[in-house]
């Protein structure tokens, strides 16, 4: 490497003079979500009786934990331009396995470990079909959505297992002192930090954005597209298993239908959080804001005894507006540009013709 043009040490030693890009971050799509969340929190605290209380934090967080957990790998997967619809089924399968293993008299530690392994194996299966065989993720995970849920039914049938160790189940609903924050949030925050750092501060994460925009460009800079995707699905399986375990122990009920339908809620939250379904765009803070916004809305409405009906309608509208608004803006700009150009064109047409 002696003959190369540049001495990298001098390059790296030179003083940074660039902008931090603060403005870009402050006005970005994720930031809007965060402002929206903050605004709604303030509104709820002022207008909904008893909202501003530590109890809220506890209950609300317990409610959003499964979505928040699964949203993390989902964010990364959608950023690469793929999707995973099987997450809730993996959680259900994990729950079913937990129930059967525990009812079978296995040590709880081992039960938890095996359950995580089951989820991971499900992720490996997805990853193999999508990254290695190269099948479309939407179709594959619709298939595994049914398959994993089906396996959950095969494993545990219509039974429910409820007699998990009391210390364990109460740990899962316990709070950190008087803060009202659930103890398990420590673990959740660790997972969130892991994925946040992975996405935003590691070479791997950089690669994911590049892949999302253009797989070809990513290949050209030496990113192993298939391998990255494979690991994302494995991670998704593992985290879905965690969510399944949380679900089981929080409700102290292992059933095959646990967490069913959660996949669409997760995807809605992730998209609302500013992740583009086309891939390439999105951030973990934005997604956290998206998840919390839906969660808070949900909780505030329940506290205000407003029906869930309103909630699902609002969620749907938010989702539509969040994608339609930006492209409507672009479409209007484009239309005005075209109109202007056409006017110019017609204008200039006559003099040229006469020349």
């Amino acid at each position: 490497m002696s003959k190369t043009a540049v001495d990298s040490t001098t390059t790296l030693a030179s003083e940074p003079k660039g902008r931090t890009g603060a403005a870009r971050i402050l006005l970005g799509r994720d930031a809007v979500m965060i402002y929206l969340l903050a605004a709604f929190l303030v509104f709820a605290a002022v207008s909904i009786p008893r909202f501003a209380s530590p109890l809220t934090a506890g209950f609300l967080l317990l409610d959003v934990i499964p979505v928040l957990l699964i949203a993390m790998p989902m964010t990364l997967i959608i950023i690469t331009g793929e999707i995973d619809l099987s997450v809730a089924s993996i959680a259900g399968l994990t729950s079913a396995c937990m129930g059967v293993l525990w009812a079978g008299g296995m040590d709880i530690g081992l039960v938890l470990l095996l359950s995580l392994l089951v989820g991971t194996a499900a992720g490996v299966f997805n990853g193999f079909l999508i990254a290695v065989v190269g099948l479309p993720s939407l179709a594959v995970t619709i298939g595994t959505l049914a398959l994993f849920r089906g396996l959950a039914l095969v494993v545990i049938g219509d039974n429910a297992v409820a007699n998990f160790p009391a210390q364990l189940t109460s740990f899962f609903t316990s709070k950190l002192g008087a803060t009202g924050i659930p103890t398990v949030m420590v673990g959740v925050v660790a997972v969130v930090l892991f994925f946040g750092i992975l996405l935003h501060f590691t070479p791997f994460g950089r690669g994911l954005y590049a892949m999302g925009f253009s797989q070809e460009a990513a290949t050209f800079v030496g990113i192993d597209v298939a391998r990255s995707k494979f690991w994302l699905y494995v991670a998704s399986g593992l985290v879905s298993a965690m969510a399944g375990i949380f679900w089981t122990l929080r409700y102290s009920s292992a059933r095959s239908d646990n967490a069913s339908g959660l996949e669409l809620a997760v995807i809605a939250a992730v998209l609302l959080g500013g992740v583009s379904i086309f891939g390439g765009k999105g951030s973990v803070p934005g997604v956290i804001a998206g998840v919390l916004l839906i969660g808070t809305l949900n909780y505030a409405l329940r506290l205000g005894r407003v029906s869930d009906v309103v909630l699902i309608t609002v969620t749907g509208l938010l989702l539509i507006v969040s994608v339609v608004a930006p492209s409507m803006g672009a479409a209007i700009r484009q239309w005005r540009h075209t109109r202007r150009v056409r006017r110019n064109f017609n204008h200039s047409a006559s003099p040229v013709a006469s020349a």
Partner: protein, 508 residues
């Protein structure tokens, strides 16, 4: 063009475009697009790569709306909002890139939107296939009209495009490099068909880089350069040399200053590289400080060779030696680790991640290098990005701006910066100045020359003759997947390169 006295009193003008302009953001694709096609003539449009021919075609097709200009069909001013309108006005286009529907049958590809109807007003597959077969008969080819288009060779795709266009019975038929992928027999048949159409009064516009074709077929020739109209000639009255001069229009040596550099030991040796159906028995060597140009017509397989060398595509046989050691095939990671870089031809799709910032793009190749304990040091990253942008004089508002906001030339500099930052020993540069304006072009050339001066071995793929002749120490010419000639800087001339690129006899 209206000034040509020979054509006074000739058949009426079928289509005319005057002083059309079209810009894409900072890129001026067309500054003064002017052409006039008469009924019953075949009119060639010639110009270098990037001269704006295809852009002009797309305006005629209604695909692009010009920013200004006068566009008439049969004397009436028109302004098409979309392709359907131009079609309705009798303009039929064969695009440079085939645009087939892979899942539809060949026959259906030809007749989409106007399939023949049978009983009950339903599409008659049989009739459609019969008509398609008849068209193929006219063109003298035997493609099964019932098969799907998926997997057809480029040549067959092109033939289907031609069949599609002539079946439209258009008043004006525009063909953008229809022959680029065709064999001699097919070209001859196409010409016969084109002459037949001309004799029926159709106005035909024909784009090709091959002089012998243009001179054999066309009645008039219009030349474009750098997005501007240059001249129109009656074919009989003009020579190839004159056209070449008008197309290039500048002194090659002045524009592309390759500085002499010390040529060192071989960095890359490729031996007997073959990939079935793509390229065959490629041998080449690039030395430190040397610029080797890979010339040839579009479609000759140059890019494919480069992709295989870099590990993007696999190859069937042969080997790649890098610094004397064999390089693992099929792995860009290995190539990068060894010290290779690749500036691809398609900047937007392959070279850059358009929506990411300049800084991110520059450091994309360096992801691992800035990681401390697995985490990227953002400041060091930004610093490096700025340093490299500065060295290459990238003009960007801020390194945080999306690279899509930059002009083509500056984007290309970002791609170069990205690879230079990896401190490569060998760089493949595919079409270094495609879509770059003339001013920035010479800057990019200076840069490449500079790199060679510092001992980097460079393999440059270029379809622009002046660029090849001006920059290269050695020119390898490819034709149909093989290297057909190796020319030293002294031997290389427009004639010798073109000859090797087009004429079969030159090889063996």
């Amino acid at each position: 063009m209206q000034t040509d006295p020979d054509l006074q009193g000739q058949p009426p003008v079928a289509l005319s475009l005057a002083h059309a302009a079209k810009t894409f953001g900072p890129v001026v694709a067309l500054a003064d697009g002017t052409i006039e096609i008469r009924e019953g003539e075949i009119h060639a449009l010639m110009g270098e790569n990037g001269a704006g021919k295809s852009t002009l075609v797309k305006i005629l097709a209604g695909l692009h709306q010009p920013d200004s200009g006068d566009f008439r069909i049969a004397g009436e001013p028109v302004s098409f909002r979309n392709v359907a309108e131009s079609k309705a006005a009798g303009v039929s286009v064969i695009y440079q890139e085939p645009t087939l529907f892979p899942d539809l049958t060949v026959a259906e590809n030809i007749f989409v939107g106007r399939q023949p109807k049978g009983r009950l007003g339903l599409i008659s597959q049989g009739e459609m296939r019969r008509q398609a077969a008849a068209l193929f008969g006219q063109l003298g080819v035997a493609i099964d009209p019932g098969r799907v288009a998926e997997g057809l060779s480029i040549a067959d795709q092109q033939i289907i495009e031609i069949a599609k266009a002539i079946s439209l019975d258009a008043k004006v038929l525009i063909m953008d490099e229809p022959t680029a992928a065709l064999s001699g027999v097919e070209v001859d048949r196409l010409f016969a068909v084109a002459r037949g159409l001309r004799d029926q009064g159709t106005g035909i516009m024909f784009i090709s880089h091959r002089f012998e074709e243009v001179f054999a077929l066309c009645d008039r020739i219009t030349v474009m350069r750098d997005g501007k109209y240059v001249s129109t000639h009656v074919t009989e009255d003009v020579s190839v040399d004159r056209i070449v001069r008008e197309m290039v229009g500048r002194d090659i040596a002045e524009l592309f200053p390759k500085e002499a550099a010390e040529i060192g030991a071989p960095v890359l040796s490729v031996r007997g590289l073959s990939r079935a159906g793509v390229f065959r028995d490629i041998n080449l060597e690039v030395r430190a400080g040397e610029i080797v140009a890979l010339a040839g017509l579009v479609g000759a397989g140059r890019t494919e060779v480069a992709r295989a060398v870099f590990g993007i595509d696999p190859y069937d046989s042969g080997e790649v030696l890098f610094g004397g050691k064999p390089l693992k095939g099929g792995s860009p990671q290995a190539a990068i680790a060894a010290g290779m870089g690749f500036v691809p031809e398609d900047r937007r799709k392959q070279g850059l991640v358009m929506d990411l910032s300049v800084a991110r793009n520059v450091t994309l190749t360096l992801r691992k290098r800035f990681a401390r304990a697995g985490l990227i040091n953002g400041r060091a990253e930004l610093r490096a990005a700025e340093e490299w942008s500065r060295r290459l004089q990238v003009k960007a508002g801020s390194p945080e701006h999306a690279v899509s906001t930059l002009s083509g030339g500056n984007q290309q500099k970002v791609v170069l910066a990205k690879w230079l930052a990896t401190e490569p020993r060998f760089l493949i540069i595919d079409e270094p100045t495609r879509g770059i304006d003339v001013g920035t072009k010479s800057e990019v050339h200076r840069l490449i020359s500079d790199l060679a001066g510092r001992g980097i071995a460079i393999l440059m793929i270029s379809s622009e003759l002046p660029e090849v002749l001006g920059m290269a120490d050695r020119v390898l010419v490819m034709r149909e997947g093989r290297i057909s000639a190796e020319l030293s800087r002294e031997e290389a001339s427009p004639e010798s390169v073109m000859h090797a690129a087009t004429v079969a006899a030159a090889t063996n």
